[in-house]
Symmetry: C2
């Protein structure tokens, strides 16, 4: 088989490039069209209705780009808009929550899982639902950590302030003795180093980007949507507003070749 | 005279309520219609073109509400969109930059003024331009401080982390020996207490909300647009997305009676 249509990936902004990085590493032969809604970023404090409406607009643009699968590289959107997207679009739709929840259940030994994310993601309870759907005995401790995205967008990866803020968020989860922590926001893998520094003791970290990429591979295989192994996958990146400094932070940290950034107006 | 049409105020979100508070204190007989674009907040990292487009959409809603004057209660919008708004709308348009610059020039004794604000506001150089237009000898030291809005939206007004972050931003300005500091973001007056704590020595703080309200009063007087002194001014608040916890933070901190919040969809 050789389906060279792109994998369509969208996010509220730049954070979803962590998913693109994981996809590039796992599936270098697949082309990717990435769309970041930088004109309206962030979604994390917005209502479910507004996030659903934005998600449909973005998925429409991916459909016009002939995407063979839609990847929602954003926990906030994944937590509220997956059913609507699946109802409105014919291609497979993969979010980051189900893959992350599955990986967390595989990792935990004491059955107590921590989740951090934006207000909207945590308020939705999407991780609890996904975790408990597979195992109703699991304990879940969730915490909104809204200061992390701004710190990441400032590029403060190795900074005492970041460590202090992380410690303040994580300490209550550690006191409750979680053994697994889900990074429930696609920005957070950029902070993985700082998170390990602050956690010190052995906690299994579940990175939604990596697990989402594995799920995409499974679905492409199952539905015979793979590009040929020797295909040379291309990456195109489009944003709804001009890129700012965070794009450079993300590109450099992830070591991604982004090429020319396209601009897409929302009507 | 008794022009009971409302003062129309808009902002990217909730921060502009500091301007509403200043207007209510100064002009209690005037009605106010406030519109916060919480569906697309924040504007501070967005491009000038996108911010201009959003500003026109919001001003159109205020025009339909029969606003007698448009107040741009947002430094980011004021820094890039005032000329466009003045070209497109017949009523007076007042921003926060010119009033703040004027107050800073009145306050400074050593002629060295500091400005803090969002990336978009600082990048625009709008305060430098407004300050130098009146006095080409003035020295201006500007600094983008993008972590302050998230801290404020978290309600961390009396917190050691906030003081540390403020100190990191303000210390270089203090070293340069500014004697006046312009709070170039309508969120920042909510941090006035923490800012005074961190500054310690005598720095004159220019709060754009208060100075904007004074300018509105002047324009209403000059153009005979005042409501009668015995008029009972009403406040209506509309948002483009459902309110989140920050609305409560702002209402409680500012001691504002907001009443029922209206929702306005953007098309």
């Amino acid at each position: 088989m050789n389906d060279t249509r792109p994998i369509g990936v969208f996010d509220s902004g730049i954070g979803g490039l962590t998913v693109v990085k994981a996809l590039r590493d796992l599936l270098p032969n697949e082309s990717i069209f990435y769309l970041g809604d930088t004109a309206r970023v962030p979604y994390g404090n917005k209502s479910a209705e507004t996030v659903e409406r934005y998600a449909i607009e973005l998925a429409n643009i991916l459909a016009k780009e002939n995407a063979k699968i839609i990847v929602v590289a954003c926990n906030t959107v994944s937590s509220v808009a997956i059913p609507t997207l699946r109802k409105n679009f014919p291609m497979p739709v993969i979010g980051v929550i189900e893959p992350g929840a599955r990986a967390a259940l595989e990792a935990t030994r004491n059955g107590h899982i921590g989740v951090i994310g934006t207000r909207a993601t945590i308020r939705s309870g999407a991780y609890e639902k996904a975790l408990r759907a597979s195992n109703d005995q699991v304990r879940v401790s969730s915490l909104a950590s809204p200061l992390l995205v701004p710190l990441i967008e400032e590029g403060l990866f190795s900074d005492n302030l970041t460590d202090q803020i992380l410690f303040r968020y994580l300490e209550p989860l550690l006191t409750k003795e979680i053994d697994t922590l889900v990074l429930g926001c696609t920005h957070y893998p950029l902070l993985a180093g700082a998170i390990s520094r602050v956690l010190k003791r052995q906690i299994f970290i579940v990175d939604s980007a990596h697990n989402c990429a594995r799920s995409v591979e499974e679905v492409l295989d199952r539905q015979s949507l793979r590009a040929a192994l020797l295909n040379n996958g291309k990456l195109r990146v489009a944003l709804t507003d001009a890129p700012d400094s965070f794009l450079n932070v993300a590109r450099d940290t992830l070591k991604l070749e982004l090429g020319q950034i396209e601009l897409r107006a929302l009507v």
